[in-house]
């Protein structure tokens, strides 16, 4: 029997996603208070604050842990701040988990929040000719949707995905998120409306590419012992694994923000699982489960097409079978393994440092049976998947 490496999810909380235009600290504090209330704990019970950083809100965003701690009132708690692009939330969760598992604290608060500008994400300001993220905009005009579109087109050629499939993902997620009080977009769409929206990066259309949003999410994590002793509500949900792996050399799939893959010439063995697949595999291995045990998943649908890639990358089906899974309704609520019951990024838009934390909030509500209007039947094991720019994997296994 391996050592128990679970940590309890005692409380979860979110500030609704939107385009509110207020200070990100407000969303983070609202989410934190909500998570603490859910846990039945006071802010003064928290021994470790783990902030997920935002890089578009000045210095307070770079030191998010301290910023949230100050807003909640200094208590002298231990603090850390993490940045890992879209994987920042998972990295912050992992920092808190490590503190708990090492016996350094019993109760940790994880918080991420963002206020975002409108439109395409541009690189942070300044002229940086040695920064691939600056250079890809300058030399190629390659936005984030450029990369999503390259994967989508490749999928169409290799596996016969159609524009109708991509639109169907959007329709499914829009329906899933209809009743989610934290979702920004709560409106049904039809395949025709999706396919009638303007092309952004062929073959992806406006309604198939995730927006950028304001929002905040928080978790109260605790040692299993502490949770057993102090729980007032349902604290039987636990984080069973957190994977924050890097790619392995040679990386043979083009990834944001790079211009080129590694050359595979110098290496005899390139037969690895590929980066996105390795992210979830590491989480499954750590949790001692396999993809066949998963009841529900929250994956990063930065584009509707990318959700199909994730079906394969988290092992819900073999490569090339994602379209069939979708068409058979397996990933719709009521199907075999619903994906993005929250509505996903499709209904939320991305609030970068909050998003990976929000994925865990959703799985917690699903596993507790509290996901009103979007509940997956008898869910006991959930997995999240996500990927941060430059090579930050992010996958969390949640169990009850």
């Amino acid at each position: 029997m391996p050592e128990d490496r679970r940590v309890a999810v005692m409380g979860v909380g979110m500030h609704p996603w939107g385009k509110w235009g207020r200070n990100f600290v407000e969303y983070g504090v609202a989410a934190a208070r909500s998570a603490l209330a859910d846990a039945g704990l006071a802010w003064t019970d928290v021994q470790f604050v783990s902030g997920a950083d935002t890089i578009r809100n000045g210095y307070p965003g770079f030191v998010a842990g301290a910023t949230f701690a100050q807003a909640l009132g200094w208590t002298g708690s231990r603090v850390a701040s993490s940045y890992a692009a879209c994987a920042s939330g998972a990295t912050a969760i992992n920092a808190a988990r490590a503190q708990i598992l090492a016996g350094m604290c019993d109760v940790a608060l994880v918080v991420g929040a963002d206020t975002t500008p409108k439109g395409f994400f541009a690189p942070v300001g300044g002229e940086r000719r040695d920064d691939p993220d600056w250079l890809r905009f300058h030399l190629l005009g390659a936005t984030n949707p450029t990369y999503f579109a390259l994967y989508a087109r490749r999928r169409m050629e290799l596996h016969g995905a159609t524009e109708h499939d991509f639109a169907t993902i959007k329709v499914k997620n829009a329906r899933h998120g209809l009743a989610n009080p934290n979702a920004r977009y709560r409106k049904e769409v039809t395949v025709e409306e999706v396919l009638g929206s303007p092309m952004v990066a062929d073959p992806l259309r406006l309604l198939e590419i995730c927006a950028t949003s304001d929002g905040g999410a928080a978790l109260v994590l605790a040692s299993m012992d502490f949770a057993r002793r102090h729980s007032v509500g349902d604290s039987t949900v636990a984080v069973a694994a957190v994977s924050t792996v890097t790619p392995r050399f040679p990386q043979t799939v083009i990834e944001m923000p790079n211009f080129a893959t590694d050359s595979a010439v110098a290496v005899a063995d390139v037969g690895g699982p590929g980066f996105r697949r390795s992210v979830a595999l590491a989480a499954y291995e750590e949790a001692g489960i396999g993809p066949e045990d998963v009841d529900v998943a929250e994956v990063y649908d930065l584009s509707s097409a990318l959700e199909l890639d994730w079906y394969e990358d988290i092992g819900l089906c073999k490569e090339g079978e994602a379209e069939r899974l979708l068409r058979d309704g397996d990933t719709t609520i009521g199907g075999r393994v619903p994906v993005n019951p929250s509505g996903g990024l499709s209904c939320f838009g991305e609030a970068i440092p909050a998003q990976a934390i929000a994925q865990v909030c959703e799985l917690t509500w699903q596993l507790r049976g509290q996901a009103d209007g979007r509940q997956v039947d008898a869910a006991r094991v959930g997995v999240t998947a996500n990927q941060g720019l430059f090579g930050h994997g992010s996958s969390v296994v949640v169990t009850r």
Partner: protein, 116 residues
């Protein structure tokens, strides 16, 4: 600069010319003006971007596709060649960048390919 191979701690690099031709791994276009620091012409003209697989090097290299080529003229597997072309111009300079040009379209393009 560092070698990306974890099994190699070498710091001496040899410049190796890459193949000038490859096949399209995937492609897309930029229907909307990319944000700064991209320098966009006014009025903006959409362009294609291709990820091109170089067989000998076993790698994929991104690049803009030469002006005038639309997604309808591209497919996974299309043979393309590297040309040097204008990225943008200001009063003093013409700034150059690599671009991909479909081999079949080579004759009609005004990109400065072969003299690069």
């Amino acid at each position: 600069m560092f070698c990306r191979n974890p099994a190699c701690d070498g710091t001496d690099f040899e410049e190796v010319p890459l193949s000038r031709r490859g096949r399209v791994w995937s492609y897309t276009d930029a229907c909307y003006t990319p944000p700064v620091p991209f320098v966009a012409p006014d009025p903006y003209v959409p362009f294609c971007i291709a990820a091109v697989e170089l067989a000998a090097e076993k790698m994929v290299v991104l690049g803009q596709v030469t002006a005038g080529v639309t997604v309808d003229e591209l497919a996974v597997g299309t043979e393309v060649e590297l040309v040097v072309d204008t990225l943008y111009e200001d009063d003093d300079h013409e700034y150059l960048v690599w671009k991909w040009r479909p081999v079949a379209a080579g004759a009609g393009s005004d990109a400065r390919g072969d003299d690069a």
